[in-house]
Symmetry: D2
Subunit: 259 residues, 4 copies
């Protein structure tokens, strides 16, 4: 299998990870996820029934763990303790499944991470045997520290969760990628297909998104667009793009310009 994404020892063909929130109904959720080609699907344990409520529709009926790698996440947690507790609940509900996505939020307006609490929770979870994929800001120093703590993937935001603004600080993402030995996945902020392609062209190993698909007018079509965009960006990264220059002539570089 060529050019796979390996997380916590397991190889995936798809580099697009998707969420399950904000869809019209479970059927649309299922169809969009199928169209996306995603193999890893993240689930907000605090908002989604994955078995906590025996008499209600269970997401895992349409996203079966036999087909997908379920990635429980701690969306909605504002303290390290809450996030750790939520991961443990998920592990119980999913029969010992230890791959989790950690997010500890700093406030309800920006949904930016609380970085010190994220570091603390990551340390506790790694010590407790979890394989931690971690949502964080795009600070290269913190991303490296989370890797050093033993996280299996680091997931910097491109822009605020649910904003659709695209990658705000390409230099930071590039620096994070250059420094990393674990997969770097852009998490949050992608709005449309080209945003996803840019993340991959910067050398990211994958992209996780939810709103950009679920809030498109046609989520199923957008999910397919994202699948192609991730592949396009990855292939362009591997193919090695032409240099940027002002004009076709070889001697017209863009460096040294006044802006």
């Amino acid at each position: 299998m060529n050019d796979t994404l390996t997380i916590a020892g397991r190889a995936y063909r798809s580099r697009l990870l998707v969420g399950t929130g904000k869809y019209k109904d479970l059927d649309e959720t299922r169809r969009a996820i199928e169209s996306s080609g995603a193999e890893i699907v993240t689930v907000a344990v605090r908002r989604t029934n994955i078995g906590q409520n025996a008499n209600e529709p269970n997401l895992l009926d349409v996203i079966p763990p036999s087909t997908y790698t379920i990635l429980p996440n701690t969306a909605g947690c504002y303290t390290a303790d809450d996030a750790v507790r939520t991961c443990r609940l998920a592990r119980e509900l999913l029969d010992g499944h230890d791959l989790v996505k950690l997010e500890v939020l700093g406030d309800a307006k920006t949904l930016y991470p609380d970085v010190p609490a994220t570091l603390e929770a990551a340390k506790t979870l790694v010590a407790d045997g979890f394989k931690v994929m971690v949502y964080t800001s795009d600070d290269p120093i913190l991303c490296k520290r989370l890797e050093d703590l033993g996280c299996v993937a680091v997931m910097p935001l491109a822009a605020p969760i649910g904003s659709g603004l695209g990658i705000q600080n390409k230099y930071n993402i590039l620096t994070i990628v250059e420094n990393a030995k674990v997969p770097i996945l852009v998490d949050a902020g992608v709005g449309t297909a080209s945003d996803a392609a840019i993340a991959m062209e910067l050398g990211c190993d994958g992209v996780l998104m939810n709103t950009a698909i679920a809030e498109a007018k046609d989520p199923v079509l957008m999910a397919g667009a994202m699948r192609k965009a991730i592949e396009a960006g990855r292939d362009a990264y591997r193919a090695g793009r032409m240099p940027r220059r002002r004009f076709a002539s070889a001697s017209s570089p863009v460096e040294g310009l006044p802006y």
Copy 2:
């Protein structure tokens, strides 16, 4: 056939048009073009042997007109007369083929079009029965005028030919698309996959490129990346992207900001 691109009455599945210059050899040319999925291939009549020189390798042996729509172009022409003459030569060489790509260049440094000469040549060619696809600047007024003159497709530049800088003026491209009744194809300036996706997300009907593929480290892989990027951007455009907002909360629009 769904969502096809129709130019001069003929429908195409692919929205990626490619050139034939700058490849290592004819075999690489052929493999890259196959990987791109392009159905329309443009050929610089003044630089490429399509039958003028009977004893030299003929591009049409690897890009056969039975498989591809050959689009002769007037690259290297700096006057209306030269461009018109070149189109007529192409029509002879190609047995009455009347679809051409007109470009009349303004200077050899920028390779920007000479707009008045382009208007003049377009008028002459349309009167002479040609179906004219026309390279021009990204000026919305001129693009509309070229349409009014009878051109079958208008092809504004995204950035200088061979620069790889990506779309410099998105507002102009958007305005050109909004005003148009004929296909608008971005011609020149694309550097990598996301640039192509952005062109399609703006509503363009297609993209023509050459250097971005031919000068990639791996042209064949990049050609495939471009094919996917064009499809991704087109599908994202049709799917209707989510609104951009500062934060996930509904009441955080980006308008009215100080920048």
Copy 3:
């Protein structure tokens, strides 16, 4: 006098040119213009009374030609003939004053120039003895041609008139400046102070604006901000900015990046 702007043989200390439209009243017009430090003030002959209507308030009473260089412009003209006629009317009203700003508009939506009509009108006006400053698109080839026709200053747009979007295509403005032997003034599209500074940092000789001042909440304060921004940008251009690099270390250039 150091670092002056010379147009048609006359030297100016200020590189900010301003319009007179959209103000609350003539008193606000006067105070904003004084605050801007402008020495050249442009007047739309078709919309402003500079003597055509003897019984109405005359703009020249608050913007006296003894203090300011009055620059009649052809705003609202959509044909070469109209523009030429308007310039001749202005010359009469202003006792033989021959410095004019030519604009021939392409449509009422974008207010983009009609480039062929602009070329035609420029030729006629130069032959008729006018000193022509000319509004045009940011196409480097056309800007050079207007200079070659004898225009005394070329004024490419940064963005549509009245949009406040700032400079959309910095590469084009830079190329226009590099090619020019007459003053290049950005005309139209500036929205706030930094936009004006950027124009000057790109090497422009000056900036003309109206809406950005007149539609600010406090036009008089904004006029002063623009005066300082123009000086700041000019001085930064002359001072020679530091190179852009990714990090402080000397060996971290920005060229060769994937975006």
Copy 4:
């Protein structure tokens, strides 16, 4: 005194703070700082003689504390302990002066802050009676936390120290400003005059810079450009800029566009 910047209870007319590194000699340092109009001058205690070495030239001879507010900084410190110790040394050398600029660096490549160590050092210094201005990343959550710890000013980076790249994430700076009750000063990353103006237009209370002035070809002229740019940006912010729109017509907003 109108529109002053108040830090730790003291009002300043200038909103431009400057460093003292990288100049050719002390005379150029003095002339550039005079040209900048700065009233607060930051000094790297570990690299600059402000009295530690009795027999060497003392920076305070050309930047006298009677004229300037000296702001000792902890550049070059990579741990909280080092930074705290450096601040205490500065307080001794400067006779009890308690205003300091805290920076705890994360690595020598990026010069990004070590955020957990910065939080720790800030807490210690505030408890020890210092008035702490603090260099940090542009993370809105962390900026607020540093304010809550009692810092008198928060100084997010615009881009890496010494890069000259300008503000990379305008949304973050805007959010930091919106949330703050203490002054927000952009620290690091400004490259030319317009970058400084943009920081002020976003609502920042001031800007600190060093390389952009010291590494200009003409540092004294650039210092004056920066003074004007800061004033221009501040005045534009106070004047209230015009709305951005696609065209002059009132009904052409930029929101809702596909990019």
